[in-house]
């Protein structure tokens, strides 16, 4: 019998909070469009992160009050933002010098698929009638020091997004370090996928059923 009172897994805010906890104080961070944007709401007190948005701002602040937005002050998702005291504006070549040049510490991205090797697919399903659009994703995965993925564990249709090999066109090969899903946090190592943390009421077996790739458990001493 199903008990509807038992919540399985984390919600989006909890996932974002898990990511935020793992970003060290003083990091320069680029957040992708969508769920990754929520990470900024959960930075622990006493930690300072500087957010870069690839359309030309280091020191991105929160969303402005309703009606106070500036059409020329937007994030990569083209939504209104603010700049913090101490922020800097720059042009696109400088922005990607920061990104490709390895100056950004952490990037948090969404995913369509992630493979057990850390291959990421997040820009195209490869469908023939789809308009291909890549934005800055390929530059980010090629240049940022640490790539975290935040994603639902499965698609709306229940298909696994974490797979042995991506079937969608890649954004980058062997680029993802860690996956934060609604069911678990997974580390990607040379030896494969390792479960770092299980979400509430998710067993290893349940996670295995919802994952399209082999999962490994850390020995207690490895964590």
């Amino acid at each position: 019998m199903i008990n509807n009172d038992i919540k399985i897994g984390w919600d989006r805010a909890e996932m974002a909070q898990k990511v935020a906890l793992d970003i060290p104080d003083g990091s320069y961070v680029n957040l992708g469009i969508g769920i990754p944007e929520l990470v900024a709401d959960f930075v622990p007190e006493g930690r300072e992160l500087i957010y870069q948005t690839e359309n030309g701002l280091l020191g991105m602040g929160p969303v402005p009050e309703e009606g106070k937005g500036d059409r020329e002050l937007v994030n990569a998702g083209k939504k209104y933002i603010t700049s913090i005291p101490g922020a800097a504006y720059f042009h696109h070549a400088d922005s990607f010098t920061m990104i490709r040049g390895g100056h950004i510490d952490v990037c948090v991205l969404g995913a369509m698929q992630v493979s057990k090797h850390g291959d990421l697919a997040n820009w195209s399903t490869g469908a023939k009638d789809a308009i291909p659009a890549v934005g800055g994703a390929m530059d980010l995965v090629a240049g940022v020091k640490r790539i975290f993925v935040i994603t639902q564990h499965n698609t709306k249709h229940g298909d696994p997004k974490i797979v042995e090999e991506c079937s969608f066109p890649l954004t980058g090969k062997e680029v993802v370090e860690r996956i934060y899903s609604n069911l678990a946090i997974l580390d990607i190592k040379k030896e494969g996928l390792f479960v770092r943390e299980l979400a509430p009421n998710v067993s290893f077996e349940y996670l295995e059923e919802h994952t399209g790739a082999k999962l490994n458990q850390y020995l207690k001493t490895q964590v």
Binding site: E72, V74, K78, Y89, A93, D129, I131, V134, D139
Partner: protein, 236 residues
């Protein structure tokens, strides 16, 4: 005496010829030179190759230029935007060519074009469909793909402030591709909200030095693209 100020939008774009390569600044509407684009629609030059990050929204600005069948090819990183229907329809009908480029590679290709660098290697897109058919090479045991600099005949750019020498200041994230597009084009045409006397821009704060700019036109109250899209305006 050097004076790059022109007095009308039509004069600003008059030299743009059929088949020209035209860089158009902006990241979405931020920095999009909508009055200059509309002047180019009035001017009517065709078979243009446009270099721009996006493909415009609604039926104004860049989307209107495309809808008016003046663009044969677009070099772009993200041709999908909210309210973007013009490009997808023409693309699916095979009536416009797309060269899809990762955003950072697009920026660097423009920067390189302006800096006299014909080609360079980048790590972005390695092992993806966007690297197919491109030369690659190993450096320090990592693979890179060869990308080419882009030069343009014209750039249409929006900035905040200019002087008669063409020195430019920008506003917030509207800067985006403007400075590099000015460097990579033979004729950079810039619309600004304000033209000031030479000397009123602090040399320490100049973002685009005037040598990269050929024409400036004052557009005191540029249109609000989102508002035009909301109101379902179309140009012309």
């Amino acid at each position: 005496m050097i004076n790059k100020q022109v007095n009308s939008l039509s004069e600003a774009v008059v030299d743009i010829f059929d088949g020209a390569i035209v860089m158009i600044g902006g990241f979405g509407e931020a920095g999009s030179p909508i009055e200059l684009i509309h002047a180019l629609i009035d001017h009517g030059a065709k078979n243009l190759t446009v270099v721009s990050n996006n493909t415009g929204s609604g039926h104004v600005g860049l989307a209107a230029l495309i809808e008016n069948k003046q663009v044969k090819k677009i070099i772009c990183s993200f041709p999908r935007t909210a309210n973007s229907t013009v490009f997808p329809e023409l693309y699916n009908a095979g009536k416009i060519e797309l060269e899809l480029v990762p955003q950072g590679t697009l920026a660097e290709r423009i920067r390189a074009g302006g800096a006299g660098i014909p080609a360079f290697y980048v790590p972005a897109s390695v092992n993806t469909p966007l690297a197919e058919g491109k030369e690659s090479r190993m450096f320090n045991e990592q693979e890179y793909v060869l990308e080419y600099g882009i030069k343009a005949d014209f750039a249409l750019v929006k900035a905040e402030t200019a002087d008669r020498y063409g020195n430019l200041l920008y506003h917030a994230t509207a800067r985006n591709f403007g400075p590099i597009m000015c460097t990579a084009s033979k004729v950079a045409i810039v619309q600004v909200k304000k033209i000031v006397e030479a000397g009123q821009i602090d040399p320490e704060t100049v973002v685009t030095p005037g040598i990269f700019v050929q024409k400036v036109i004052e557009v005191i109250n540029p249109a609000d693209e989102s508002k035009l899209v909301e109101e379902e305006m179309s140009y012309p």
